[in-house]
Symmetry: C2
Subunit: 355 residues, 2 copies
Amino acid sequence: MKEMWSSDLLNMKPYVPGEQPKDRRYIKLNTNENPYPPSPKAIEAVVAAANADLRLYPDGECGDLVAAISEFTGLPKSRIFAGNGSDEVLALAFRAFFAAGAKARTPDVGYSFYPVYAELFGTSAEYVPVNDDYSVPVEAFIDTPGGVVIANPNAPTAVALPLADIERIVAGNPGRLVLVDEAYVDFGAETAAGLIEKYDNLLVVRTTSKAHSLAGIRAGWAMGCENLIAALNTVKNCVNSYTVDRIAQAGAAAALRDREYFETTRRRVIATRERAAAALRELGFEMTDSKANFIFVRHPDFPAKDLFKALRERGILVRYWDLPRVNDRLRISIGTDADMDALVSEFADITEKGR
Amino acid sequence: MKEMWSSDLLNMKPYVPGEQPKDRRYIKLNTNENPYPPSPKAIEAVVAAANADLRLYPDGECGDLVAAISEFTGLPKSRIFAGNGSDEVLALAFRAFFAAGAKARTPDVGYSFYPVYAELFGTSAEYVPVNDDYSVPVEAFIDTPGGVVIANPNAPTAVALPLADIERIVAGNPGRLVLVDEAYVDFGAETAAGLIEKYDNLLVVRTTSKAHSLAGIRAGWAMGCENLIAALNTVKNCVNSYTVDRIAQAGAAAALRDREYFETTRRRVIATRERAAAALRELGFEMTDSKANFIFVRHPDFPAKDLFKALRERGILVRYWDLPRVNDRLRISIGTDADMDALVSEFADITEKGR
């Protein structure tokens, strides 16, 4: 088997997303989706775009979506690149900046897609161990040989670096790219977008999949100086001239423009996170200080793997990795208050019975 | 400038799609879009998918879309891979099969994205000159060292190979991939999909952008043996777990299931092509025997570049390449009968005045 595969593909290990089971209904706390629907204005925009113009290619430059991102972020349109979800934007960025030489330095506990991108594009990443509390050792990211990739807040740890530390890293790597993946920034961390006018080596990547509840339509973007945006456009136009379809462009633009809905939704998720975290601490769980739409928890008396299995049997999906440094933990996405009440109740029962 | 770019990117020449001007309204005969809207059932399916579930990631395996492709093609679901437009599928296929060693052999006149993919993934293609009538010299594609990539019908020539010749090429390259890009097959050529059960080295790529009038939602697919489909899934899952959004999956599946609309639409395009071709021959134009939704024409008395410019001034966009072997030709997409009447009328005026 694997006849005709490109040789370097034979042992490649793809990213494995959280399961999307079809066998029964679960409370899905395993893929960091937003529990609330997207803005009604986004739905309206999708419906409005469902017309005869679907026969025509989309705007390859995503003009109106980029305009909406510009309004949302306050950055000029020339510093924005839109793509088919932030995963695609990250993949293009790895190809643009971390192939053929430069090796990205990244925390050893982080988004598990980064090593996959690095390998796919013929290089590999350099891993720096995070501290025992999962905080990122900032000094190790100053003066790197090839640049930095870092998620802020980090995944799956939910721990955020203060903006001042991000700026130290950016300032400490002149002429080398610092990519900050801000997929979860809207749930309590500080964006580095404001540094883009000051530093030409900073690329910030974001998504509408989380805080804008649009995981289903795939729209993400990058922000950086014109030189970095030009590199992303070059790679994109070597892969697919039109990666974001007409309907995704319309829906994402409308969601970004509904600022009030966005603010309300993200605040609800944050409030539920704090409430659920307090209830789980009551049950003896320990956790990092989450600035994301998920929490990263352990229980001193129960192996995470057992808790994961017990929850699954009871109809609740969370994420568990059987990997060093994180295999005593569960990553739990923040659902509705009702979802989290169900989780707390099942955990109470499991930990009670298990004693 | 270009600081921080991966070194191999510095001189890369991206694919340049046909222009999508915003300055005025044109009759757009330059990007091979379908002049007719998509099936009303596709529009309905898009509207139905515009709901609260957009907060959830799409099905990464495109289950229902793959089922619809299976119904449309008669192939089992296990032999189908769906992606974000056939351009993405082609890019993934180049990465999967033509990186790290194997060089694809391809006609020197062909879809100009192929050399871009090859270069992006660190290899290059081998070019075989087409014959003076733009037909593909079949013998040169037997017993190739690294495999074959061929569009059938070919672009921008519109010339198709008979299925028997495609089978000779497939049979003549055991253990090496033969990729047949059938973006335009529905307008008069024969699909090679029926050969997939017989040959494990054949990958056929198709799209809903042309005959299904869905260029705006980006859905394409590949068909091949399970081993080839597995390679595509591996590369896809190294780039982006969810490349086809919920709405594109729903719209494309509905379009594929509306067989009657598809048959009517493609027959209308074919009828208009034959009518326009006859009228242009009356004006002295020469052209290849088109099996696509475009024609590839020249006029013995007028440089193609001049005709291109004159048409543009008169509000009609067609495609012209200032490249060897094709710079005496125009590629003209088939529009509505009214679009083509306008083209013929302007050409009559231009050629009359030019004498």
